[in-house]
Symmetry: C2
Subunit: 151 residues, 2 copies
């Protein structure tokens, strides 16, 4: 049977979904091995804060392509675990600035090596140019599906 371009795209999205799940699964296993009670999504937030601490929820939502409502819950869950803290921005009291607590900072040295390992394992025997081509492909698809989004 002839495979149309749209059939290929259907296989593409399926395979993309599965690759995404493998990344998540890799990290979940690492966390579980060390009995760290964190989800992949909470980790995404922490990673952004390790790059730049003191960011408000909306900025985090934008960086992570998540809904601001999702961020409310994620910050709640990170706060419960005493990893981050909310502060009201004195310059604009609508904003809640999120900062790392000591335990949240401490985890960086433990977890970042796992992230690095994950990418090293995932990218084994793959030329970096292929990965860059993949990014360009994603960006083209994004702009096709949503021309108004200014990436």
């Amino acid at each position: 049977m002839a495979m149309t371009k749209n059939d290929t795209l259907s296989a593409f999205t399926m395979s993309m979904r599965k690759a995404m799940l493998e990344f998540k699964s890799f990290l979940r296993n690492k966390l579980k091995e060390s009995n760290i009670d964190l989800t992949f999504e909470m980790l995404q937030v922490l990673i952004e804060l390790w790059k730049k601490d003191g960011v408000n929820q909306q900025e985090l939502a934008n960086l992570l392509h998540k809904d601001k409502a999702s961020l409310t819950y994620l910050i709640d869950n990170l706060s419960k675990r005493k990893l981050v803290q909310r502060f009201e921005d004195p310059n604009d009291r609508r904003n809640k600035i999120i900062t790392l607590l000591p335990e949240g900072s401490r985890l960086q040295a433990v977890i970042l090596p796992w992230i690095d390992e994950m990418y090293t394992v995932a990218g084994k025997d793959i030329p970096v140019q292929l990965i860059k081509d993949g990014i360009l492909l994603f960006e083209k698809i994004q702009s096709n599906l949503n021309p108004s989004a200014h990436s």
Copy 2:
């Protein structure tokens, strides 16, 4: 600053996430425009049933890379909407065979054109070979992260 291969992979996963969200968002908008009360995930199940009706939950879970527990809930929600029905397999009473109800079948003619449109829009000005290259890239990453998985 120099961008390492792992930095590129980090950008890759971010961009992949975003592309996935655009696909979901496109379909959600279509469904909403027509006031069809279905989620992207319920649609994934229907699409498999449109390809092959009368499949059990575990097979659906495997096809969609989902957990069997997720399928229980998805089938519950599709049943509530009178789109599918569970049957006990007489040959193996552990299995629940899922079949389309009339309304579930009827939706195919409405929704499949949207799926086709989604892929046509997404793939505009993209040579099919690039998409195939993307699939190979995903498969390589999958086997790197999870060598035991026999795709």
